[in-house]
Symmetry: D2
Subunit: 386 residues, 4 copies
């Protein structure tokens, strides 16, 4: 599909590597590959975007980022540094990149101020990405959650600035790891623990009424919804108001009601067609956006899934909306200067057809080689260049 | 679901019963039930609409109607009579009913003129419904198909009047019945033959380029798409232009490309959730509208499926769109005088929730009786009255 | 569907109520209803089973049961008491009930011995149900997990006795609740926290190699798989051996490979058709069994879902297998004395058809009342009585 | 997937080309490619089978074959010739090929005798394939259907010989083409008309009671079921016995009841994942088998769909059963001399995993090249050779 937009795409800076060695999140021997890809924007990344018809990426600061810095002033300084660098990088190619702001969440008012600085004084920012809870305390085992009343000042800013908040996972801290994950450490990360903790934080935000108090706030989360779409029946069924009369969320709404209006998910890092189908049933096409999770996932792999598998399972309208157009409704700032992204039709995205001679189209999975197994042809990138 | 709109809902007049005894289409002993229901609009039908939260019906003249009358002048007179009666009936309750015009298709220019009369000189009409091929000839075995060039004058009128064309099935004529269906007559009707013939006619219209020449024409068909969505891969795959270079349809489009733009389906008479899911995948929510096929199907049965089964399988946005809002986009005339229909939100349609005390909602399949099996409560009809 | 078997069905004894007041798990004012239903077997429960065509229930001791008793000898005594009582109750109607043993898991050898006592010296037991981690320690905040090497003696017994192990959730302890759930306590229970913790324990068992060392062990879990089927792509994808070379699970297998052979799920408490469809795609019909979660869910509600919704979404073979026959393959002891359960055909289960006159069948959603909305007729229970 | 078996795979002989030029069924300029592929078995075909892990093909005589020969004695002679040649070819590599017999259906007793000859006097035959109706009459416009009572002698033989009957489509004859398809001839073939006619014949066989009178008869049909699975709700719903009291099919069964027991479908020529999912829901995994439709479809294309798309949408058990093992249950003769096919596990089929170093597996869509788009590696063919 031409014109794909991806939202959960990581980037880092040299100064962050000491805090947070990405190498520990991948197989031994591949850490330097990962580190190089995190530091790069306009080289290999852009080349792969071109090769795989990814029109645009919204970049964010690599997890846990400022959320992993338990010292308040260090976290705040790192956010400022990251945001300033991000702005500079994005503005080198604003037709291909935008950014989610990094924030220290130690002090909600300071977080609000830094978000305001990014959204109003800079040009490349279209929202904010938070890496689950904010670590704090001398031992780093404190955990701050943004569903608590003291964070209303932050949500007020996100609401007023119309800045979507992307909730991204992170590993457990040392205390929780020891209490729960120690005997099975491989589960603490992206295979399971990320979602098991982040879905609590997200549903905390919803059920504590944040979305009701701040109706322009949009919360986005990845990995096909951190288990939530699959269990949305049970979640709503079991949050019975007669059992939990003090739960602050509006009593005339269900969690599912927020999807498509204030809650949105992406496909990052979970390239499962059955899971996508389930999510389409439970939270709907209008709640779903394509994303990759680069460089923790391979761009060609994510795009092979989207371009070949999903295109063969979903009609062209819904497919094009999830691959591109939904983003422009959910983050309309992307349609303005300096990004200027435009809605595209399925035909413009070259969806749901194979090119034949002389402008004709044909249909099927194959390419022109009848007897040989080949990769599906990826059309040239010309339209996105220049 | 409150606010449902249904599109393939039959009605007849006393004068048609001699041509076409509805009793032959149902079990022995139930013909009079059917006949009475066909003749009725404002009695039992409206009562059941109220009881089942069907806000609105677009009525059409019972199949085969004028298509079954092989004498040209009789067919034309019957169309005029049916349309005049329909207008009178609809205008008794235009906030609950509209009509698709009945047409004789012997003479395309006459058909165009009668359609123009209905759409411009009357108030209750929002399109036209045709019952497959037009019978003609002295023996009644002639078959006229509207995908042939001489019908362009009719399509031009439908285009200019922005009158959607609902393609409805009918039984085979005597000749075809004898050649193909005689040894298995029960298959000639709604179980199989209706779709096996109508899908040819519909795809004839598409592949002969009618939709290309008349880009404002919208064709609607029922019964979950007359087998087409399930086979859309194979249809497009096998209509290879290199094999059929003379097929008039635009060579840069596939049949699937017309869905959601010029082709639409309804659920009439095929209350299968797996088939609906397949159609949602292949032709998309924006191509699908709820319908019943009353009185050949029971209103409570169709609505029990939609209200209970489908609501538990599809998110509230897509569900509300298929149950109501899509119709208002596809037939915008329904939003104008004298019908004045309005888009409704899932909340207004009371979708995806159970009512609890004091305006609260809860979720699940059950009602308040924990230990007894009950019908799901149908909310009161107050909102549609007055 | 006639002949349904349900596996996650709770029961308790008067002596347990002091430890564990079930009233705290339901809405204010309904606790006594719940308590009465937990204490009852042969009264209301059996009556509702009859009314809803539940042929058989495997009973288990109400969560957290012995896992919630942090004192070792008290926990062991409670298990013995519960099991002795359960045997007596089950043997009053062994053609309708069997039991999963309750165990204290403080001492794996003692657990093995008690399991052996139940499986060999008693007649009503067909496996064991464990309520997540075993609480221990003076403050009750210790947590014992059964994926650790010291529990191999328990798994060896389960393997040798061919006793399936049902893993059931429970609330967090006070320490974890305070650290993670305190600001959103309603999420700690069945809406989210149950699954978020239990899926870690289950995947700990799998990835620590328990199923490899004990190939006859079968682990069952409910609630449509505690989020695991939806994320099985990501789980397998992210448990990359090159990143986690020390993970003990066989390196030539994936987590998904154990489903249908050593891992099985039930539908208890998650009556979502889209989630069931997703699970059928990802872990397969042979891994899935119907269950209710009585009395935390209503029997009529669970059965209305299964009998009406699922029967209309799944072909009769897969449906009958999930509703009954799979259980007899996974727990073959149920086919022996004193339970003597038999495989049933779809026809014997009266699946996929409506009864018409004189032994005929017809098909559709409706019953004989054409114009009135009714509950689908539930056939009489005669076949299961006597 | 290793070990795939394909069932609707065409072959022809030089002597048939004059009757039936395959070139008219494909794009201009590709007729000789098709003809060569039809004539070949052990060359290009086997090479592609090896390259794409197709373990085994059941061959059949190219449509319309003997059904297209309206002269009785010519048709019978052609069947004998084709079957003798087929036997000789299959026995060159009986571990890779078997055959469905070709039959003239002019005389049911002669058809039965020729089927008996193939099934008892030859070694390579495992059933029969019929190309829809038998043409007859001087003008070739006669159509014989096998659901009529005079064909019971044929069905008796198929029953006694336990020879499955594969029902394959063919184009309409000149009379029907002129009456129905003339204005849209491209629809008469595989895009639509094939299924529109064959589904009538198949359902004629079912509803006329053939399967009831001959309970060991199994009928197989391709193209994902010739539209039937999508409409099975409506088919059963509308074949109401009270309306059609003379329909011979057992009154205590529905059409859907025969699926998985006497009716089976294949995926030939319809590589649509949404259609497969719908069929899995409506007629069940046990009714579905992989097939290609070579050489009207490309082997690499069919296998790319099955190996890459379907493997990512269906759990490994169901997938392996549909790809191989179901065939061995439905046609058990394939497990005997001289074919000796064996059931394979998902692991043996190398399903649902990527090979990693040293016998390890990993999971995902990608191969080892992180940054480059590649075809998924097809494992070597060694296991099927020798």
């Amino acid at each position: 599909m031409f014109g794909k937009i991806a939202l959960e795409e990581c980037w880092t800076i040299q100064e962050e590597l000491a805090n947070n060695d990405p190498g520990k999140f991948v197989a031994a021997g591949t850490g330097s590959r990962l580190t190089n890809e995190l530091l790069d924007i306009h080289g290999t990344r852009l080349k792969q975007m071109d090769e795989n018809n990814v029109d645009f990426m919204v970049l964010s600061f690599n997890s846990p980022g400022c959320q992993g810095i338990s010292d308040k002033s260090q976290a705040e300084a790192q956010a400022t540094l990251a945001n300033d660098r991000m702005e500079a990088e994005v503005m080198k190619a604003p037709n291909r990149f935008a950014a989610f702001a990094a924030l220290s969440m130690h002090d909600p008012a300071q977080a609000a101020a830094e978000l305001r600085r990014c959204m109003t004084e800079k040009k490349g920012f279209v929202g904010v990405l938070l890496n689950d809870y904010q670590s704090c305390g001398e031992d780093g085992n404190g955990m701050l959650y943004y569903d608590q009343p003291e964070y209303d000042v932050f949500w007020q800013a996100a609401n007023d600035l119309e800045a979507p908040v992307y909730m991204h996972p992170r590993p457990s801290n040392k205390l929780i790891h020891k209490l729960m994950w120690d005997g099975r450490p491989w589960l603490d990360f992206s295979a399971l623990g990320y979602a098991d903790r982040l879905n609590m934080h997200i549903l905390g935000i919803v059920t504590n009424g944040v979305l009701d108090r701040f109706p322009k706030v949009k919360v986005i989360f990845g990995h096909m919804g951190e288990h939530i779409p699959y269990d949305i029946y049970r979640i709503d069924h079991k949050l019975d108001r007669s059992r939990f009369p003090n739960m602050p969320m509006r009593k005339d709404k269900l969690v599912r009601d927020y999807f498509g209006e204030q809650l949105f998910i992406t496909t990052s890092g979970h390239f499962s067609t059955p899971a996508l189908m389930c999510a389409m049933g439970e939270v709907g096409v209008q709640s779903i956006m394509f994303s990759i999770d680069y460089p923790f996932e391979s761009i060609p792999n994510a795009c092979a899934w989207w371009d070949e598998h999903v295109s063969a399972s979903v009609n062209q309208h819904d497919y094009t909306n999830m691959g591109r157009n939904n983003v422009l409704k959910i983050i309309p700032k992307l349609t303005e200067e300096p990004h200027n992204l435009k809605t595209m039709t399925p035909q413009e995205c070259k969806v749901g057809r194979l090119a034949a001679d002389q402008g004709e189209v044909c249909y099927g999975l194959y390419n022109k080689s009848w007897n040989k197994r080949e990769i599906k042809v990826v059309p040239s990138q010309a339209m996105f260049i220049g």
